[in-house]
């Protein structure tokens, strides 16, 4: 049996290698995305660990900012020998080139470089910050001295002793490269700039402030001992001043993973589609092989070979392809992860938190999952052709004409309709809560799967109906032949259409979601951003860079006589029971008055709860914390737990964690901070917009001063970034679907061999044959387009009104990009036609 199975492999090794490659790509896409998203989003985000080693606990305040007064109160905690306290301050800075233009965002991490020497990790591999020990007082706490890893130095083309201009907290400053840390053991990321903590505070204009205190255990050998860790955690906790909390560093990775859970889930679903489409390709290719071997199989049947044996040979073939492909896929995925991780890290940086790429790791779990996935999909894909081979009639019967097995389930609309109904019912399912307060729209995903599959099963009926409709208009023998073959609606025709419908449904659904998102954001911008100018920190973008502007600098800017009013915004993280959210400080009178918003519920339509701070909350916040109709949410702040109660709900597409905006005075009191994140400037009557913008830019080179259009471009840039992965997967899915169409057409023509030969004898020319095949391919494409568009519209509706609302708390305006649909449709029909022609030419050459 094994010999029978693999005999063909030698003859068509190229084709089988291609099949293995297809499985490899499918498994690779899944595994690669899994590894890359893990490396990009689930790290601890503690950039200092490259220098100080990984910590065991983190002491932090809910706002991620600790004043030095509080730090002084931690002095007695620092005296315990069981641990080392490592205060950290970090922020984003932007390097400037010689012309003063930003060249790239860097992460400045400030550490007490002297006391690092106490840490067990550093004691084992000391870091030489200077050639001479005795010069410590020259660089410790200096104004400008920084250390770069080799990667950062190369990126900036910087050398020891060089001075580099930077932007930090809205000001132009200078750093001095004291030394380049060349130690091979020191894996400093290529955007990291290390400075003494005091220097970093100065550069970031954040004197007297740190972000967190990390705790490193002296007895490193006990860092995995849960009982010991609990004891230490309790001891530290009992000694902490009010407003600070301590938690294991490992929890941070869990928290961060939870924040990106929805993002990673979406990627996983998309990558599974790649595997699904790969499985479809295997099915098509194995099916084509079965058709090619039909005569041989028929002879074997005539010689008395059992159908079960034939079935098993088919399955064995599929399993072999699956296993070999999966093994290759595991490797492909690992390499793919290296390519994709940068893209994912950018997205995580833009939307969630500051991250760096952790080493991409290939775990045993990854290997097992990949192997299982490839094996199962190949098995399922091989089952149908194997069953087909098993049903092949003996040679005597086959020789009487074309034969094709009938896949009843493809012809029976009941299966498809049942799936559509199942999908609709699935929508009634409640959402599933996942870690970090995110919610998974389980019903939405089930409905999407059921509807896509249902429409794929029903697509055969569409093909037949369309062919019948067109047949009446066809006069030429070529077109009549093509439509009559499509009218027959063989199982292979139906299979080809079904595969394409899945791909088209997916692609058109995504088209709608992306377009709806874009349109909604544009509309949101038009309503929300009515001020003339917007001021923020220059060169700093993304959620991972909540640095803020030096308050003194903004106060100075706001004295400009051209400014009539400034809507200054303050933002920090806040922790609720369900997970991290954002707490904003805004001019409450202005926000409930003339500052325009897209209101889901205008201010005043919800009554605030007594004893709680009135807040304007974003839709995502209201949905996430279930306060659409009012109520309270408890937020952890440095001043203890505080209650906020919504009085209005506005649309906000900036983040999925939700924002609660309270009055600035309360925000400052709760957080103990005073650094604004941005300001919207309304100019006085008679002020020249362009002149004011240029003047402010010149006076404040460390700040970005943009008008509304420029701001919109920046926001859309971030938005496009987030859909890069989606677009890439769309392209893979579509490409695979077209290859599937081509393979399907090969099988169809193979199966119709005797028909073609009869037609040739009747005078059908090769050109007519090729044209007819082209029309057949185009017909399949049109039917797929029709079925796929319908399922795509359903997908679009699902994604916008179910998945987005339930997952992210965003209501989007549904936009159907008709022009994109049209171009895509034309392209598809053209590709279908060309595929038909190509497969016919290829088939003819093979037969002659």
């Amino acid at each position: 049996m094994v010999r029978t199975t693999f005999r063909h492999w030698r003859a068509s090794i190229g084709q089988y290698l291609l099949l293995i490659a297809i499985v490899a790509v499918g498994v690779g896409a899944f595994n690669g995305i899994r590894q890359a998203s893990r490396a990009a989003s689930a790290n601890f985000g503690l950039f200092n660990e490259a220098v100080s080693g990984r910590s065991d606990f983190i002491i932090e305040s809910p706002s991620q900012r600790i004043s030095e007064d509080t730090l002084s109160a931690l002095g007695s905690l620092a005296s315990y020998p069981d641990w080392h306290l490592v205060p950290v301050v970090e922020g984003s800075i932007t390097a400037l080139d010689e012309k003063g233009e930003p060249t790239g965002q860097l992460r400045l991490v400030g550490l007490d470089l002297l006391s690092l020497a106490n840490l067990p990790y550093v004691a084992k591999r000391p870091i030489e910050f200077a050639e001479e020990e005795s010069t410590w007082h020259e660089w410790l706490g200096s104004e400008k001295d920084v250390w770069l890893g080799r990667g950062t130095a190369n990126k900036l083309n910087a050398k020891k002793g060089q001075r580099i201009s930077i932007l930090a907290s809205g000001r132009v400053k200078e750093i001095f490269v004291r030394k380049i840390l060349d130690d091979r053991d020191l894996s400093v990321s290529d955007d990291l700039v290390i400075a003494d903590i005091s220097t970093a505070q100065g550069l970031l204009s954040r004197k007297g402030e740190i972000n967190r205190v990390e705790v490193v255990l002296e007895r490193a050998e006990l860092r995995e001992d849960t009982e010991y860790l609990n004891g230490i955690g309790n001891r530290i906790s009992s000694l902490l001043p009010e407003g600070l909390s301590v938690g294991p560093t490992k929890n941070r990775a869990v928290d961060r993973a939870a924040m990106t859970a929805a993002f990673r889930l979406n990627l996983t679903v998309l990558s599974l589609i790649a595997v699904l489409v790969g499985g479809y390709l295997i099915l098509q290719a194995l099916d084509a092989a079965v058709v090619r071997k039909r005569e041989e199989t028929a002879i074997l049947r005539s010689l008395g070979v059992n159908g079960r044996i034939l079935f098993l040979t088919g399955i064995l073939e599929a399993v072999a392809i699956g296993i070999l492909g999966s093994l290759a896929g595991i490797l492909v995925g690992h390499f793919l992860a290296f390519g994709a991780v940068g893209m994912f890290a950018e997205t995580v940086n833009a939307l969630y938190f500051a991250t760096s790429i952790e080493a991409i790791s290939l775990t045993w779990k990854d290997c097992a999952t990949g192997l299982l996935l490839g094996f199962l999909f190949s098995l399922v894909a091989g089952w149908l052709p194997a069953r087909d081979a098993m049903q092949t009639p003996p040679a005597q019967i086959l020789s009487k004409g074309d034969w094709s097995p009938g896949f009843l389930w493809l012809r029976n609309p009941r299966f498809g309709l049942s799936l559509i109904v199942f999908g609709a019912l699935a929508l009634l399912l409640p959402t599933l809560s996942i870690q970090g307060g995110s919610r998974m729209p389980i019903g939405g995903f089930l409905a999407a799967g059921a509807w896509i599959l249902g429409s794929a099963l029903l697509s055969g009926q569409i093909l037949v109906c369309l062919a019948k409709f067109c047949h009446g208009f066809c006069q030429s023998p070529v077109s009549r032949l093509a439509t009559s073959r499509l009218m027959d609606g063989s199982s292979r025709h139906r299979l080809a259409v079904a595969g394409l419908v899945v791909a088209v449904g997916m692609v058109t659904g995504m088209f709608q979601m992306v377009d709806s998102f874009r349109s909604t954001i544009q509309e949101w911008f038009d309503v929300r951003f009515q001020a003339e100018l917007y001021v923020s920190e220059r060169g700093v973008t993304g959620a991972g860079s909540v640095n803020g502007i030096d308050p003194a600098l903004l106060d100075e800017l706001l004295l400009d006589k051209s400014i009539d009013y400034a809507d200054v915004m303050y933002v920090c993280h806040a922790k609720a029971a369900q997970g991290i959210t954002l707490l904003a400080g805004v001019d409450f009178d202005a926000w409930t008055g003339f500052v325009r918003q897209i209101w889901l519920k205008p201010p005043g339509t919800i009554r605030p709860s007594s004893g709680a701070e009135p807040a304007l909350v974003s839709e995502a916040f209201a949905r996430r914390f279930d306060v659409l109709e009012g109520g309270t949410v408890e937020l952890d702040t440095p001043k203890g737990p505080k209650l906020v109660s919504p009085i209005g709900i506005f649309s906000d597409y900036g983040n999925e964690f939700g924002t609660a905006a309270i009055a600035i005075d309360s925000w400052k009191e709760w957080t103990g901070a005073d650094r604004p994140i941005n300001a919207s400037l309304y100019l006085a009557d008679g002020s020249e917009l362009e002149e004011t913008k240029q003047r402010l830019r010149l006076s404040y080179p460390g700040l970005d001063v943009r008008n509304a259009r420029e701001l919109r471009d920046v926001a859309l840039g971030i938005f496009e970034q987030t859909f890069k992965a989606t677009s890439a997967l769309n392209a893979i899915g579509l490409a695979v679907a077209f290859v599937g169409l081509l393979l399907g057409l090969f099988s169809i023509f193979d199966e119709s061999a005797s028909t073609w030969s009869t037609l040739r004898h009747l005078g059908f020319s090769p050109v007519q044959f090729v044209l007819s095949a082209g029309f057949e391919g185009a017909g399949i494409a049109v039917a797929s387009l029709a079925g796929g568009t319908l399922s795509g519209l359903a997908m679009g509706w699902l994604l916008i009104f179910v998945v987005n609302v339930q997952s992210f708390g965003w209501t989007l305006l549904w936009k159907v990009p008709l022009a994109d649909f049209l171009i895509f449709g034309l392209l598809m029909v053209l590709v279908g036609f060309l595929s038909g022609c190509l497969s016919a030419i290829h088939w003819s050459r093979r037969k002659t």
Partner: protein, 376 residues
């Protein structure tokens, strides 16, 4: 010619341990302790920020109250000044750069033959501070303050696992100022002088939380406070030092300054402190420091002369012999910086007849590297 003049100038001093006028400032611009300084306490128990190097040092032998357990302890806080122009200015902020502190703490479990030790290096600020008005130190787990009433100290040292030693140390004798004209000399360098003050016998009483058990302890301790800006002469690489508390209520301090060529420096010295705190001393050519046995550290591989015999001519009594032998061998202090490893431990003291005559702490420094270069 100049060299000849210098040799002629220093020769009598080298031979007799006589007076060398110190510079007023080191080459780096740090002030050098000057002669005939009259310290004012408690202010001078505090920090002398402008001077380059300063340390506060406590060692002692303790016994569990009503029990058999015996312990030795060591607590040292070092202060190193930064930029000479800035160092004397007051402390600022949580992350200062004017002073650097080191804390070394050790506990010798003499019955259990265990040696616990730890060290921290910290900048001045939230984790390390020393008052310049009185004794008030808080550095990496060591806290020392004056007791109410201004006589004696309260010392607190933490160890791993929440172990803690808390002692009240009350002087039994007045403070001793070592050296000539109030200056203790450590080599030929004109700046190699220090103010060196000691409480040679402190009554120690307090509690020790050790291995989860808290016991009351009492015993006897020694405290040094030394201030300089250039601790060792250029040609020195380390020292062997001891403080001995004899059963007859007198004390001996002896040190051998080791030169790079292996010989003892003439400025090595032995001091005798009588029952009233009066001191007598002899310099290097009047005593010998004989190594009887060495111990090789299994951790660092360093070889320490842990058993020594000191033979000296005491001006009022003639020849005396003190044999120091460690109560437990492994009392090697391996800090975060391996090249700073030294041996510092509790010893018993016997006379030439082998009779136990007292207790001592012995310090063997500079065996891991050139200490002179660091303390210059």
């Amino acid at each position: 010619m100049k060299i000849t003049i210098l040799i002629l100038f220093f020769l009598p001093a080298l031979l007799n341990g006589e007076w060398i006028e110190p510079f007023t400032r080191t080459a780096e611009g740090l002030p050098v302790p000057y002669s005939d300084y009259k310290p004012v306490f408690p202010r001078d128990h505090g920090s002398h920020r402008g001077y380059g190097i300063e340390w506060w040092y406590w060692v002692g032998h303790l016994t569990e109250k009503g029990g058999e357990e015996k312990f030795g302890f060591q607590s040292t806080v070092f202060r190193l000044a930064g930029d000479p122009q800035e160092a004397r200015k007051p402390a600022f902020g949580n992350f200062g750069n004017r002073q650097l502190y080191m804390a070394h703490t050790a506990l010798s479990d003499l019955n259990g033959e265990k040696y616990l030790h730890r060290d921290r290096i910290l900048r001045e600020g939230w984790q390390a501070s020393a008052s310049d008005r009185t004794l008030s130190l808080k550095v990496g787990g060591i806290e020392a303050v004056m007791l109410d009433g201004g006589t004696g100290h309260r010392l607190k040292c933490g160890f791993l696992g929440d172990d803690l030693l808390e002692l009240e140390l009350v002087p039994k004798k007045p403070l001793v100022r070592f050296g000539d004209n109030g200056l203790s000399r450590k080599g030929n360098g004109r700046s190699s002088v220090s103010w060196y003050w000691s409480y040679t016998r402190l009554q120690a009483k307090g509690k020790l939380r050790y291995e989860g058990k808290e016991v009351e302890v009492s015993g006897s301790a020694w405290m040094d406070h030394e201030i300089s800006s250039s601790q060792l002469g250029d040609d020195l690489e380390g020292w062997d030092w001891t403080c001995i508390q004899l059963a007859d209520d007198t004390e001996v301090k002896a040190y051998r300054l080791r030169r790079k060529d292996g010989r003892s420096d003439p400025w090595s010295a032995v001091y005798w402190i009588d029952e009233h705190g009066k001191t007598e001393r002899v310099y290097g050519n009047n005593f010998s420091w004989i190594v009887e046995r060495t111990w090789t550290s299994p951790s660092t591989g360093l070889k320490y002369p842990t058993t020594v015999r000191i033979e000296a001519i005491r001006p009022d009594r003639g020849k005396v012999v003190y044999r120091l032998s460690p109560i437990i061998e492994n009392q090697e202090f391996i800090g975060k910086i391996k090249s700073n490893a030294y041996w510092e431990g509790a010893c018993r003291v016997s006379d030439d007849q082998g009779r136990t005559v007292g207790k001592a702490y012995l310090e063997l420094a500079g065996y891991a590297g050139d200490l002179g270069a660091r303390l210059n």
